[in-house]
Symmetry: C2
Amino acid sequence: MPFSYLDHLECSRCAKTWEADYIRQLCDCGGPLLARYDLDAARSGWSREQLARREPSLWRYHELLPVREAANVITLGEGMTPLLPLATLGQEIGIPRLLLKDEGVIPTGTFKARGATTGVSRAHELGVRVLAMPTNGNAGGAWATYAARAGMRAVILMPEAAPVITRNECAISGASLFLVRGLINDAGAIVGQAVRERGWFDASTLKEPYRVEGKKTMGIEIVEQLGWEVPDVILYPTGGGVGIIGIYKALLELRQLGWIGERLPRLVAVQAEGCAPIVRAWREGSAESTAWQDARTVAFGINVPKALGDFLVLEAIRETGGCAIAISDERILDAQRRLAAREGCFVCPEGAATLAAAEQLRQNGWLTGDERVVLLNTGTGLKYPETVRVEVPVLDPGEALPEIV
Amino acid sequence: MPFSYLDHLECSRCAKTWEADYIRQLCDCGGPLLARYDLDAARSGWSREQLARREPSLWRYHELLPVREAANVITLGEGMTPLLPLATLGQEIGIPRLLLKDEGVIPTGTFKARGATTGVSRAHELGVRVLAMPTNGNAGGAWATYAARAGMRAVILMPEAAPVITRNECAISGASLFLVRGLINDAGAIVGQAVRERGWFDASTLKEPYRVEGKKTMGIEIVEQLGWEVPDVILYPTGGGVGIIGIYKALLELRQLGWIGERLPRLVAVQAEGCAPIVRAWREGSAESTAWQDARTVAFGINVPKALGDFLVLEAIRETGGCAIAISDERILDAQRRLAAREGCFVCPEGAATLAAAEQLRQNGWLTGDERVVLLNTGTGLKYPETVRVEVPVLDPGEALPEIV
């Protein structure tokens, strides 16, 4: 049996196919390339029962991942993150079967590790020596980390306002790090010019085919963790959108493998009110988004004014009967606090937005209350210390503890 | 089969036994109580083959953990953290079979989650409503988090100098948090008085019997991950010492179950030169340590001048043929940088100390180079942003990227 059933690449816009075993970026038409597998062969040569005894990392699904040789896998043990019942909050907001997929429990502390392990592994396999990328912070931290493990050079550009801790990750991993006075699109333009002139590998969102392959494993894991049943709804905080695109891709592949039935979960794209291009396009019934002006939100990871894969996100929510919804920063921070205080889940603001979204969708009747609903938390709140207001009394040695109210 | 084979508690100093199903703190003699299991019953009723299909959390070992009813388990999916080969650094320092057990990949970002899940679960089972503890930061963050999930009140005291991010964890989880102008022992004195006066549960290190039970699962996991073979050496960053005590306890229990053979790994206690009471006691051949004056180190989690369980740590290293070793802050920070840049492992300073220790023990011949050596990294470097020096060039939108050296 092959380690991977990877077959070829296909353009997500024009459907042109490309051989997979060369370094590729975008299609000639500018569309992102997606990895396609020989699912017929996989269906006969591989079964989900084989998974039970494998290690709890996303590489348990290596047949459906793009690396040809096990020796080329660059891993830090990422994946099989917890799927936690939110019994208390679920009861409170009228969705008793509420679950949280917690991507804070992963190397680098965010789901970006998934895209980095598959992206860097495959780049390593194909001989890439230097990669460059713009990032809102967490992707840069993850790719710098995995590049270090691969012995590969990483050039990372992030907005000045990106979370400070992600600078540390890049710097200590030995990446070449630059800040940009602007947003991620400004960083992307500088990277674009540099890769054209210097022949580096462009690891920008969807400009290479393999990051999305790592992200899709979130979808496979949710289904495996539910005993190969799909949930009714998955809410996903959406910036560049690779996660939701990947989850949708995984569901289609699992269906083709016969591992799940016909019905798919409704996928919900959650954005911040201060940067909601997908939500606007969804409301307008457009197939693509237009750039959001003056984008700003405390949920920095989803501060993406115009995503290259916007049309794929809109397709995923349309085809699954999902929707798109925007949340205010105030409600995001309130949801973050409640998840920590009621459930012990200290999530990032992006992840917290999905709780506020579920609550709103329950209130307006889009959720009926009997569905199994999965919130996807994309990272740990530990990487965002500035979102928590802390005022702490200070005692001297020997002083008595004040009364606790 | 019972969910747990917990049988009774036993004093680690005077060997007096206590019934387990009541709230207990220390023995009458002041010694820490340890949980004892009916290992004969476990040996006949339970086998390691049953583990293969269980979820990848430490609760897979529930028969050897102290909670009676599955419904009382307060979990965030902690455990089965990665055991990573360090091929590049291992080669460089002459220990090719070097491994890192990475406790950064766990809820709350440190191994403290293990003690918190078992400690809080059992406290919850026994009816505790309010717990209090002194902490160097990470334990407080973890116990506050798990207490929140249990609906329990947590009162946390930490030194002013404890890592700032751990304040966030406590605050957002709704704990009652206080800072102390002093060290953890000063915080402990204030907690001690408060629990005596107010009848709270004292969750201080080793003052309740169940934190160590969570920590011991690190030892079980390492052995399971190596296919039920023990490594030759485990290096452990030692402050309060509960981790090394727990690992030693796990190894003895596994041996009694017949799951491993007679030979145990040599356990090494790694401390910082600025706070090395265990190392001093070890060199002097003492059975206990004396308080370290003017304790200070960048590895704040092991800044413990006098540990209640010092005699148990010294027993563990003596009985396994291990040793104790102190590392300078300069070498700790250098090891932290090399682990990130060479292996993609952004570890906490405490964890980094174990690499420097292994290197030193290899140089002086204590390690021969053909052993399988496990470094235990107790937490993620993301929680210690102040240990990384970052100076980053800033670009304007449209500016060309400088040459990368």
